[in-house]
């Protein structure tokens, strides 16, 4: 009847494939790839931004921390407990048989070689994410002399290992290195 109507009535090819099918598939594929590429920045913008990632590692100066004393630092928005263990605390930790532990680990495995007195942990209870007490001056340290989480009663010992309560694991150890004997870099 008109040019338009004549245009769309191509006879089917012998095997039933029309030339137009190729155009449809090619257009659809091109649009799908384009859409996926366009969507990615909209998803990625919710990932940590450059200023957040810039704070991904921190340095902590250990020189002022006396034996028996602990400080808190902040790393990736989480508290870090840095503790200078006394000889007595180290002995207490070493005296515990591994078989008595829920998450077996020795103090040597938790600390760095040659720096057995420096107990460094992420101060987040492995149960449900509360911050345990014990790193601050005068805070209760629990029945095992380490850390105590008041939310659900998890007790950690002087190597920050879980001894009693609902927490499944020892306090986690962040990745860190000694840059000098009194300076660590976390992250």
């Amino acid at each position: 009847m008109t040019a338009v109507d004549q245009g769309i009535e191509h006879p089917p090819h012998e095997d039933g494939v029309r030339r137009r099918d190729f155009i449809h598939v090619a257009t659809g594929s091109f649009a799908a790839v384009g859409a996926a590429a366009a969507v990615w920045p909209f998803i990625n913008q919710m990932n940590p931004s450059a200023d957040v990632l810039a704070l991904a590692s921190i340095e902590v100066d250990l020189s002022a921390i006396q034996p028996g004393q602990a400080i808190k630092a902040v790393w990736q928005s989480k508290p870090i407990f840095v503790r200078n263990l006394t000889a007595k605390e180290q002995q207490e930790a070493d005296a515990v048989p591994l078989s008595a532990l829920r998450d077996p680990a020795t103090l040597e495995q938790i600390t760095k070689p040659g720096h057995k007195n420096w107990l460094i942990n992420i101060g987040v209870c492995t149960h449900l994410g509360c911050i345990p007490l014990g790193a601050g001056e005068g805070e209760p340290r629990g029945d095992y002399g380490g850390y105590f989480c008041p939310c659900h009663g998890s007790h950690y010992d002087t190597a920050a290992r879980i001894r009693r309560g609902p927490a499944p694991l020892n306090l986690l150890v962040p990745p860190y290195t000694f840059k000098t004997p009194t300076l660590i870099e976390i992250g």
Partner: protein, 438 residues
């Protein structure tokens, strides 16, 4: 809401039948933008701009939601900032420098606003040329004017949010428009900004409304499409659809055509976003807001310039009304008179293609608005002020004098008997031309 020969939605699959009898959303889509919506077969590329406006709106909403995740509406100074930069200003810089693809999101949003207005201005002039405001489409047109007003409010408040110099002084000047109202003007202005000058209360309420109004626009857009789909689109001949030979189904004919238009639009948009992202903005807005110092030459965003020129065209008191109030009245009237356009133009011929006299004046109006736009961005000095006065006078004369008068004097050209006839006549012509060339 369609022509009797529209294809009927008949779901074959049992699942689709099950859905159709309970929540007929697929039927709505089929009848709105699918094969069930017959469209005049002769609509040209100017008719793409309605769909493009919808695309521009969605780009603004999506990028805007993203930016709101990172932006902070707070006019307080960042502690220690030497230049007094606010938290809002620095949060925009944070988006530009730190957020993954943040620069892309912001440049898409800022240029997207300009492109939304470009598309809408073309769409408005398309409506003016083809008489899209005439019966039975008056409500479609008036809802469009409502959307335009909402867009202007949204665009203005969005421009304030980065809290640069142009943001701050734009907020100061635009809210001061309301102080021209006799007696209560100053109280209204204080109420609008929530203080004696734009400050934290202003930026927080503007952010809240800037997020709200786009969704109000979406609501009005839905009403507009609803009212449009009752008579259907106009067409370049302005002759009503008379039968099935005059229409083609929306899908696949106009979905394909709109998709092609969207591709072209996105290419042009990308050129701006990726290569000249600041060309449509004002560099002074990268200076943090300073309430104690106005930039020498302050201008609104370019899409307000024609109306800004009308505002500034009034320089003397007249009829006991101060110049300031005249300017404000004229500026608002220049948009509000569009609501009355369907009754100002009494010509029964819709398409300007068949109105030999009005066709000239239509293009004069286009040039006049472009001149007003140029003047709105120019400094407030001679000769710009005098030209603004002439251009503003023509703007009002066009709608209030010329258009009503032309419907009496003008002798329209003969209209084609039907859309199909005009299409076939064109086809025969174009078929004949190459034959002659050979």
């Amino acid at each position: 809401m369609s022509f009797p020969w529209a294809k009927q939605y008949e779901p074959q699959h049992p699942v689709m039948q099950w859905i159709d009898s309970r929540m007929p959303l697929p039927r709505l889509v089929y009848n709105a933008v699918g094969p069930g919506y017959p469209v005049p077969r002769n609509i040209n590329y100017w008719y793409n701009f309605g769909v493009l406006a919808g695309v521009a709106m969605m780009v603004q909403i999506i990028t805007g939601i993203v930016l709101a995740m990172h932006y902070s509406a707070n006019a307080s100074a960042v502690p220690g900032a030497v230049d007094g930069a606010s938290i809002a200003f620095m949060s925009v810089e944070h988006i530009m420098r730190n957020v993954n693809s943040g620069w892309l999101m912001r440049y898409m949003h800022a240029n997207g606003a300009s492109f939304f207005f470009i598309v809408v201005y073309i769409h408005i002039f398309r409506g003016l040329y083809y008489g899209s405001y005439k019966a039975p489409r008056e409500v479609v047109w008036m809802l469009g004017v409502v959307i335009f007003l909402l867009m202007m409010a949204t665009g203005f408040m969005g421009y304030v949010l980065p809290w640069g110099q142009m943001s701050f002084w734009g907020a100061q000047v635009i809210t001061s428009l309301f102080s021209a109202i006799p007696l209560v003007g100053e109280s209204i202005r204080t109420w609008l900004v929530g203080g004696f000058a734009p400050d934290n209360a202003t930026i927080t309420r503007f952010f809240s409304l800037h997020y709200l109004l786009p969704f109000v626009i979406v609501g009005v857009v839905i009403l507009k499409i609803w009212s449009l789909h009752i008579p259907g689109s106009t067409n370049p001949t302005g002759v009503d659809v008379k039968g099935p030979q005059d229409t083609l189904p929306f899908h696949p004919y106009f979905t394909a055509k709109d998709f092609f238009g969207i591709c072209i639009y996105l290419i042009v948009f990308s050129v701006f976003v990726f290569f000249i992202p600041n060309s449509l903005g004002h560099p002074d807005n990268y200076i943090p807001a300073n309430p104690l110092s106005t930039p020498a030459h302050i201008v609104p965003e370019w899409y307000f310039w024609p109306f800004y020129a009308i505002l500034r065209a009034f320089t003397v008191n007249f009829l006991w009304i101060p110049a300031k109030l005249w300017g404000v009245i004229a500026m608002f009237s220049s948009i509000l008179l569009l609501f009355f356009l369907p009754w100002l133009d009494n010509s029964r011929v819709k398409s300007t293609s068949y109105r030999p006299m009005y066709r000239i004046w239509f293009w004069v109006l286009v040039v006049d608005v472009l001149i007003l736009g140029w003047l709105g961005g120019a400094p407030a000095e001679e000769p710009y002020v005098r030209i603004s006065q002439l251009a503003a006078a023509y703007y009002f004369a066009h709608f209030l004098i010329l258009l009503p008068a032309l419907s009496f004097f003008e002798k329209p050209l003969p209209l084609p008997n039907s859309i199909a006839e005009s299409v076939l006549a064109k086809h025969d012509q174009s078929a004949a031309t190459p034959a002659m060339a050979e």
